[in-house]
């Protein structure tokens, strides 16, 4: 194993020299920022549009049979009343009016009817907004300001919960342990493919024989796995640093929420468990992906197994609500203890605080044993699949083969 360091540095340095590494790493925060920007500006535009409904310039009329609409507000919006529903609809059809709102007798059980000239998918929303605004303001004007606020659901509340006699904020408590879940997700998504292809290059370039007669297969594989783990962390740093810099630089300009981490509660036990689950899971999946890559003759063939592994890792996300609300359910227990599905359920349950210490210890032990076994499997598969340039190594050959 004395060449471990040589392999490690060679793999790290040559990956860092690749443009694709930096491109993929830097593109990620750019895409995140772009998506966030689109959402931000979209929400801003929507909010502005809805808050400006009273400034909307279009002609309309109303027919109120509910008795709730105050004519003063109709006038305030530059509307008028018509004598019948049929006339209002006809005026819209002929173009005399841009819109007509019909308020039925029971607005709580029957829909308000809006008839209007089409002005595009997004701008059509202004009609509905004005129709509802007139009704809401009319009703609110009949009660006191305080009552109106309550009816509009404008009141706010603060919740203080206690655990063992001390204030306990469940949401804030889960932030630190949940970071490992986010980290795991990002590292697998951004680096999974590189793990899969870690040994493919030796095969595709026919370097195998030179390598196997020069260095111990175990040292090569362990060196590669260690380099992948370090590169994974580096990539996360490359992703996170621009995002953090962008946040602090543009926080005020874009009115981004002010995240104050100074009062973030840190539970050492949950953070330690979260880290252990994260590290062991990452080692296990790195070994598994390297083993799959070693058994396949080409990158293309190895890629076909990638989806299956991703299904194991991220499939449990479909049962998120169960992990949070019903940790005692057998399916949750199974997914938490079966090593290839365990990372997400365990990290999630640890974050929300329903993973008992003894459960965490058993799970970590299972993950550690599996990670070790999978790494040995990766070495064995590489060793025996090394010279299979044209075909995939079968399971029987990996486990039974002597030579």
């Amino acid at each position: 194993m004395h060449n471990l360091g040589t392999v490690f540095w060679f793999e790290v340095v040559r990956t860092l020299k690749k443009k694709s590494f930096w491109l993929a790493s830097l593109l990620f925060p750019v895409v995140i920022a772009a998506v966030a920007g689109i959402i931000f500006f979209s929400n801003k535009a929507t909010n502005e549009a809805s808050s400006n409904t009273d400034k909307q310039k279009f002609s309309f009329a109303v027919k109120d049979e509910s008795g709730l609409v105050n004519p003063l507000f109709v006038k305030a919006f530059n509307g008028k009343e018509v004598t019948s529903r049929a006339q209002g609809v006809a005026d819209v059809k002929t173009g005399k009016l841009d819109a007509f709102f019909y308020y039925p007798k029971q607005v709580t059980t029957t829909k308000i009817e809006v008839y209007a000239k089409d002005v595009g998918l997004f701008d059509n929303g202004r009609y509905d907004a004005v129709a509802k605004s007139i009704l809401t303001q009319s009703v609110a004007s009949t009660v006191s300001a305080g009552t109106a606020s309550v009816l509009k659901n404008e009141v706010q509340s603060s919740v203080t919960t206690y655990r063992d006699g001390a204030p306990y904020n469940g949401f804030m408590e889960m932030i630190a342990p949940a970071l490992f879940l986010v980290l795991f997700y990002l590292m697998i998504v951004t680096f999974g493919n590189q793990m899969l292809n870690a040994t493919i290059e030796e095969k595709e370039n026919r370097v195998i024989e030179m390598i196997l007669t020069t260095i111990n297969a175990k040292a090569l594989i362990i060196g590669k796995i260690l380099s992948l783990i370090v590169l994974g962390f580096l990539q996360i740093l490359v992703v996170m640093v621009p995002l953090l810099i962008g946040y602090f630089l543009l926080r005020d300009s874009f009115s981004l929420p002010n995240v104050d981490l100074t009062h973030l509660p840190l539970d050492p036990q949950r953070i330690l468990i979260g880290f252990a689950i994260f590290a062991l899971s990452f080692m296990m999946f790195t070994g598994l992906l390297v083993a799959i890559g070693a058994a396949a003759p080409t990158a293309k063939e190895a890629g076909s197994f990638f989806g299956v592994v991703m299904l194991f890792i991220f499939g449990p996300l479909y049962a998120v609500s169960l992990f949070v609300s019903s940790p005692e359910m057998p399916i949750v227990q199974f997914l938490s203890y079966f090593p290839f599905t365990a990372p997400i359920p365990l990290m999630l349950r640890n974050a929300v605080g329903n993973l008992e210490l003894w459960q965490a210890l058993i799970s970590c032990a299972i993950l550690a044993v599996t990670a070790f076994a999978v790494m040995l499997l990766a070495v064995r598969t590489f060793r025996y699949g090394a010279l299979e340039y044209d075909r995939r190594l079968g399971l029987k050959e990996i486990f039974v083969r002597k030579a």
């Binding site: 004395h2 060449n3 040589t6 392999v7 060679f10 040559r14 290059e201 370039n205 026919r206 370097v207 195998i208 024989e209 030179m210 390598i211 196997l212 007669t213 020069t214 260095i215 111990n216 090394a386 010279l387 340039y389 002597k402 030579a403």
Partner: protein, 244 residues
């Protein structure tokens, strides 16, 4: 007589139902140049791979310096395999330095050796060039440099002239002769009988996983009525040699 550096005894190898090597035994003496000959599929590469621990033999023993070959076992090995290739997306100097380090050289020594070697073979200007940007012949030169950069005591060349142009073939022969003079043991797998006759002290000719001929070139020729190695090869393989 020189001591044996390689001892292969009762070696058998089978892939599925096909027996590739059947109870093969021979030795290679320290400091000699040994020719491993045979038609395609006769088991030459399989024997070398088993000798170097890439394959595990079904039966028999394959020893270098009295024990099965291990990467960290102290044997200074230079192996040019039949299936050749290097990390094509890396620069020449990076790949050579990496292999030099894996072979036990310090980073500095590996780097220095690489520069000198590339100067010698006319690739000094390609030091930082990616391997896949080199021509096939240039890549072969680099591969040869990687093979000898630890100054091996045992040089195993599996069909080394395959695909080599005359210039590279000359270079290879010069390098083999240099190592012979230094006392290295050379195992030479080739179809080029002229080269084998010129370079090798002893040979083994494999057919169907067995030794069809084994001994010094003089002994083998005597056994086959003074014929040349080319003629012996054709006689042993008959029509099969041409078909392969």
């Amino acid at each position: 007589m020189k001591a044996d550096i390689i001892t292969i005894a009762d070696f058998s190898m089978r892939f599925g139902k096909t027996t590739v090597i059947d109870n093969l035994s021979f030795t290679v003496r320290r400091g000699e140049t040994f020719g491993l000959l045979g038609s395609n599929g006769s088991g030459k590469t399989t024997t070398l791979r088993a000798l170097l621990g890439i394959y595990t033999p079904m039966a028999g023993t394959l020893h270098i310096e009295g024990k099965p070959y291990q990467v960290d076992g102290g044997v200074k090995l230079g192996y040019l395999p039949e299936e050749r290739g290097l990390y094509k997306k890396e620069s020449v100097i990076d790949v050579m330095t990496y292999f030099g380090q894996l072979k036990g050289l310090s980073r500095h020594d590996a780097h220095e050796f690489s520069l000198k070697y590339l100067e010698r073979v006319g690739l000094a200007e390609k030091v930082k060039t990616r391997l896949d940007k080199l021509s096939g012949g240039q890549q072969q030169k680099v591969q040869l440099g990687v093979t000898i950069m630890n100054n091996p005591d045992l040089l195993i060349l599996d069909e080394p002239t395959k695909g080599f142009d005359p210039v590279n073939r000359r270079l290879l022969m010069d390098i083999v002769e240099e190592h012979q003079k230094k006392g290295a043991t050379v195992i030479f797998v080739s179809h080029q009988m002229e080269e084998v006759e010129r370079l090798c002290d002893r040979i083994i000719l494999l057919k169907d996983g067995n030794a069809a001929a084994y001994g010094s070139i003089k002994e083998v020729r005597k056994k086959f009525d003074g014929k040349s190695l080319d003629e012996i090869f054709l006689k042993v393989y008959g029509q099969k040699a041409g078909q392969n």
